[in-house]
Symmetry: C2
Subunit: 226 residues, 2 copies
C-alpha cells in the first residue's frame, strides 16, 4: 500500500430552532490554528470508532449535545483546507430540539453557543462553505421529508410549524393552504390539549405520528410541501 498521510475528521452542522429563529451550534476554538475563532463542532476520527460515532462523541465532548437527527452531508478533502496537514472532513447534518440540551463547552472548545443563521460570525477553515451546503440541504429536505418535526417540541402548535417553514424557507406561506395540505396527509395527531399563549384564541396542540408516516410512506405516500 502506498504511503499516505491524510487525516480524517468529521464536522457537524447542528441546527436548532429557538424563539422562532433558526440557529446553528458553534464552538469557539481553544487551540491553534484559528484559536478563538468560531467553528463547527468536530474533530479527528478515532481509529476504532465509526464515523457517526465520531460525530456523536465530538458533539458530546465539545458541546454536551445529543442528536435527534443525523445524516451525512458531504466530504471536503481538497488540498489546503488545514494549514497543518491534509485533512479530509466528512461533514454531517444534524437536527436537535434545543430546549432538550444544556450546551456546555469542554474539550478543545473555549465556548459553545447557538447563533442565529442570519447573524453568523466569521468561521474557521472552510466552515462557511460547509454551513452553506447544510442550509441548502435543510431547505430542500424540509420540502420533501418531515424533518421539521425534529426541530419542534413533541407537542407543538400548528402556528409553530407554519412559522418554522416560513423561517427556514425564507418565504411567506398561506396559512389556510398550508394547514389543509399538512392535515390532509394524515400524519398529525390533534391532541385534546389547548394552549393559551396569553392573548388570542387558545390553540390546539399537535403531535407528529411517526409510525403513521412510515406506514403511509410504505404504501407509496410522498411528503411534499411546495
Amino acid at each position: 500500500m502506498i504511503r499516505q498521510n491524510i487525516k480524517v475528521a468529521v464536522d457537524a452542522v447542528v441546527f436548532g430552532y429557538k424563539d422562532r429563529k433558526l440557529n446553528v451550534l458553534l464552538i469557539k476554538r481553544n487551540i491553534e490554528p484559528y484559536k478563538n475563532s468560531w467553528a463547527l463542532p468536530g474533530g479527528l476520527v478515532l481509529e476504532d470508532e465509526n464515523l457517526e460515532q465520531a460525530v456523536e462523541r465530538e458533539l458530546k465532548e465539545e458541546t454536551n449535545v445529543t442528536i435527534d437527527y443525523l445524516e451525512q452531508l458531504y466530504s471536503f478533502g481538497n488540498l489546503g483546507r488545514d494549514p497543518r496537514n491534509r485533512v479530509v472532513s466528512i461533514t454531517y447534518f444534524a437536527l436537535v430540539k434545543p430546549e432538550h440540551h444544556k450546551i456546555k463547552a469542554d474539550t478543545d472548545a473555549k465556548d459553545v453557543a447557538w447563533f442565529n443563521v442570519q447573524e453568523l460570525p466569521e468561521l474557521a477553515f472552510d466552515h462557511q462553505i460547509i454551513f452553506d451546503k447544510a442550509k441548502e440541504r435543510l431547505q430542500n429536505k424540509l420540502t420533501y421529508e418531515p424533518i421539521g418535526f425534529d426541530l419542534l417540541e413533541n407537542k407543538f402548535l400548528f402556528s409553530d410549524l407554519e412559522k418554522l417553514y416560513m423561517t427556514i424557507l425564507e418565504k411567506q406561506i398561506d396559512r389556510r393552504n398550508f394547514r389543509k395540505k399538512i392535515l390532509g396527509f394524515g400524519i398529525l395527531e390533534e391532541l385534546e390539549e389547548k394552549v393559551s399563549e396569553g392573548r388570542g384564541r387558545p390553540a390546539n396542540l399537535f403531535k407528529f405520528n411517526k409510525k403513521q408516516y412510515f406506514k403511509l410512506k410504505d404504501e407509496g405516500f410522498f411528503f411534499d410541501i411546495k
Copy 2:
C-alpha cells in the same frame, strides 16, 4: 494532533447507456484482497491531488475512460470495510457516453468491462452498497435534472430519450405525455436531419440546448419529470 492511520480512497460508480441498457463500469482486481473479483474503479488518494483529480486519475489509469459528468456520492468509512487497513472511501457518481471511450485495463486492473446493471457479478468490499446508492441517485436525479443527456450522443432520437427514461426508472412512460412535457420545456433543439433506422417512419434528431437550459434555470425554471 492525535495519532491516526486511516487511508483515504476514492471510488467511482460510472454509468453508461448502451444498446438500450444501463451499464456500469467495473474492473477485475489484479491484487489482493479480492484478487480476481470485480470492483468499482478507484484507489488511494495521492497526497498532492484533489479528490476529483484522484477520481479522474484512477479512471484514466484503470479503465482509460474520461468523464462527462461527475459528482460526489457519499463517503463510507466505518470499521471493517477493508481487511488490511481502515479505509475511508469517498465515492463519486459519474456519467459517460460509452461510445466515446475505448476501455482498457491497466494499473491494478486485470480487466475492465461494462456490465448491465441487471446482471452484476458479486462485487468486492462493500461495493454493492455503493452501487445501490449510486443507482438510487441516478434514478432520482434523472427526474429533477437534465442528466439523461449526458448518457446519450449529442444528437439523439426522441425515442432514445424516452427509452432511456423507461430503462433507468424501470417503468412505462406515456410517449405522448412525455414528449409534450419535454418539448414544452424548450430546452431541446429540433434538427433538420432525420434518421431512418431501417424500418418505420424516419425520426427527427434532437440536441440538448445546455445554454438555453441554464438561462431558463436562472429565470426560475425547474426541470421535473415524474
